[in-house]
């Protein structure tokens, strides 16, 4: 594994090359939080597509703006602070604008989005963009905020000084959008700006911004911004963390509890549909494949949608309001100890529900190395798919004794499993930071944007992008993988009339389970449990239903399963199949193992390579094996 020195090397990804359909391309350029998405969403609506630039995990969006017969392609470039091209985002923007990009043709014009709430800094960025020599126009966003703070911006004078058209815009009320859109249709004929002096260094650009602002902008000396007053409470040393915990508890509750009924509804609909198909189609292998391979596989994909939708709705809402960066500010020190950053907190918290949306949520982490580390440790967080496995094994094999006050041994152990998962994630991140994912070229910096009323269209579109990416990219891996896992258990076919457990025993999965028996024998796992582990790759909780099948028990109510696990005996020797040390070893295995194809698929999608999911799978499997063997051996020692 190579050491990572530069951010740009950390993550690689797939290619999307736009088709050349003869439309002129207008690029939207601006800093983060400048209101660019509002303009992009207003221009293009649902015609937009999200893609990834090859070689980097930078997401680009493009869409079509139509006015009557005419239309142009709008390219939404990533938000950036400067053109020093030290991060993948900046390299992409810089390459595209200068025509050096090999996968995106040089745009025909630039619509620069000037943040009305951060004029000086935005002008500095504009200076770099102007020197690219493309036809340019400017949209001044947050135009209402300029007035709110009692300031005055002379738009006409700004336009004549820069020699390009300037459009004031109030995005959330839709004011000025139409004018800008109409002009953008003919964007290719915008004037090419002339800059009267070299603007090579940041100091040159700041001086240039000063000279422009001195001529066009007046601001009263007194600062009356509401944001400061809100921050006095939200970032207060005592009240701030309290608000933080309430918001995070709400977020957690939403994805953990509220998503549950919807997930049951989605997967219930899929299995009912499967049962309905099975009821009328001729019995045979094709029906089996359709119902248990394809339809169950689709179920395995759609079951994630409620959590993804709820989580990203809330994340984008909190981001739009301005709270997300405050939360990251409050959590940064704690996460920084183990080489992560404040924004990793929300992603890892989400992983308690499911690592899939959690890993998707890492996209808000600007540092590529911090993001990679967060993704590589995310699967340790005790996700909701582990809960049924833990609950069943603890319920069956751990005596329910009082420990302290109302605490009882079963509950304490379950809590301990969550704590162990989180601690392992932190420890692993610390180790990764000091070994293979070293250092950040860029400093940590984060803007606290002014609090704003959210634009719901932006929130819903952003949520929709996550959903479509999940279905389109991760679904493409999860569905075939589910079908493959079904195939492993269904082939080769046993003779007609044998029990399901006999079918599984002589299937490919059964043979694999027996083949790896020597490897897992020190953990007390026999081939039956090994099959359960192989099957659980589809989703961890599948180990329960698979064991039930192998042990030849019908029905899946909790009591039945607990009794089944306790009483299952080897039909030949009469020996108990599962005992306390084996159950503890199995729990230990599931704490660490990355036993989930969906997580691997989303990690592949988000890092752009199979290298990182393969690495995560390998190191977590080794840890899981060591933990299982250690737990089994120690438990046996104590019991003998």
């Amino acid at each position: 594994m190579s050491s990572l020195s530069a951010d740009a090397d950390a993550i690689k990804t797939e290619t999307t090359v736009p088709k050349d359909d003869g439309k002129k391309t207008i690029a939207l350029v601006g800093s983060p939080n400048c209101g660019k998405s509002t303009i992009f969403n207003a221009f293009t609506g649902l015609s937009q597509k999200v893609g990834n630039y090859p070689g980097v995990t930078v997401e680009g969006k493009d869409g079509v703006l139509s006015r009557g017969e005419k239309s142009v392609r709008i390219l939404d470039l990533p938000g950036l602070y400067g053109f020093t091209a030290m991060s993948p985002d900046e390299a992409v923007v810089s390459d595209v604008l200068s025509g050096k990009s090999s996968f995106e043709k040089r745009p025909d014009a630039v619509l620069f989005v000037l943040d009305g709430s951060a004029l000086h800094r935005s002008l500095g960025l504009l200076a770099s963009v102007l020197s690219e020599g493309l036809p340019t126009a400017i949209a001044v966003t947050m135009y209402d905020e300029i007035k709110t703070r009692g300031a005055r911006l002379d738009v006409e004078k700004l336009s004549s000084m820069l020699g390009v058209p300037v459009f004031p815009v109030i995005g959330h009320r839709g004011i000025g959008i139409d004018e800008a859109a109409t002009a953008a249709i003919a964007g290719a004929s915008w004037p090419i700006p002339q800059v009267d002096r070299p603007l090579k260094t940041a100091a040159d650009r700041a001086g240039w911004s000063d000279s422009i602002l001195a001529a066009v902008y007046e601001e009263p000396a007194k600062d009356t911004r509401l944001t400061r007053k809100i921050d006095a409470v939200v970032l207060h040393p005592i009240v701030g963390p309290l608000i933080f915990f309430v918001v995070m508890a709400f977020l957690f509750q939403a994805i953990f509890t509220w998503a549950g009924p919807l997930m049951d509804l989605f997967s219930g609909a899929c299995s009912s549909f499967g049962a309905w198909v099975e009821s009328w189609s001729p019995p045979g292998l094709m029906t089996q494949l359709l119902v248990h391979g394809v339809i169950d596989g689709v179920g395995a994909v759609v079951v994630f949608l409620p959590q993804i939708m709820i989580l990203f709705f809330l994340i984008h809402l909190l981001e739009a309001v301005g709270y997300m960066s405050r939360a990251a500010f409050l959590a940064d020190r704690v996460m920084g100890f183990v080489g992560l950053q404040g924004r990793s907190f929300v992603a890892l918290l989400s992983c308690h529900a499911c690592a899939v949306p959690g890993i998707m949520a890492t996209r808000s982490i600007p540092s590529q190395t911090d993001r990679l580390k967060t993704m590589l440790v995310a699967p340790f967080m005790a996700c909701s798919a582990r809960l049924p496995v833990y609950a069943l094994l603890i319920g069956a094999f751990v005596p329910d004794l009082p420990v302290f006050g109302p605490l009882r041994s079963q509950g304490v152990l379950l809590l301990a499993l969550y704590v162990i998962g989180a601690l392992t994630a932190f420890l692993s991140s610390w180790v990764l930071s000091n070994t293979i994912v070293k250092g950040n070229l860029l400093p940590f910096y984060m803007e606290l944007p002014p609090y704003r009323w959210p634009t719901m269209k932006n929130v819903f579109l952003a949520m929709w992008h996550r959903v479509s990416i999940f279905i389109g990219r991760a679904g493409r891996v999860i569905l075939p993988a589910s079908i493959l896992l079904w195939g492993l258990m269904a082939f080769p076919r046993a003779d007609a009339g044998v029990s399901p457990s006999a079918q599984i025993e002589q299937s490919i999965a059964g043979r694999m389970g027996k083949a790896i028996e020597p490897m897992f024998a020190p953990a007390g796992f026999d081939w039956r449990i090994n099959i359960g582990i192989i099957a659980s790759l589809a989703a961890r909780e599948v180990v329960v239903s698979t064991l039930a099948q192998i042990y030849g028990i019908e029905g899946d109510n909790e009591d039945g399963l607990v009794q089944m696990l306790k009483n299952a005996k080897d039909p030949k020797t009469g020996r108990k199949l599962m005992d306390f040390p084996t159950a503890m070893a199995l729990i230990a295995f599931f704490i660490f193992a990355l036993q989930c194809v969906s997580t691997l698929a989303i990690m592949r999608r988000e890092t752009g390579t199979w290298k990182w999911p393969a690495f995560a799978f390998a190191y977590m499997s080794v840890m899981a094996w060591v933990a299982a063997v250690g737990t089994y051996q120690v438990s046996c020692m104590f019991l003998s």
């Binding site: 020093t84 030290m86 709430s117 100091a203 400093p443 940590f444």
Partner: protein, 83 residues
């Protein structure tokens, strides 16, 4: 320059200052990024909020509020001015 110049992280809450320069050993990439963010000589900054464990710290720089970690803020030299 004095032997121990005042650094950005050592300002008191609400204290305003102007930037006078950077530690010469501060990596060039980081310095350039800070300059793009507006941390340039003669720019006025004010310390605003501090995260619960003392790090990071939020500063007001022109019209924006920027959070920096101590490890980077201690490389920026400043001179106190009246708030």
């Amino acid at each position: 320059m004095k032997k121990f110049p005042l650094t950005l992280d050592s300002l008191n809450e609400r204290q305003a200052a102007t930037i006078i320069g950077y530690d010469e050993e501060f990596p060039k990439e980081r310095r350039e990024r800070f300059e793009d963010l507006g941390l340039l000589p003669e720019t006025r900054v004010q310390r605003l909020h501090t995260s619960p464990f003392g790090d990071p710290i939020a500063y007001s720089i022109r019209e924006t509020v920027l959070c920096l970690r101590r490890e980077d803020a201690c490389r920026v030299y400043v001179k106190k001015v009246d708030s």
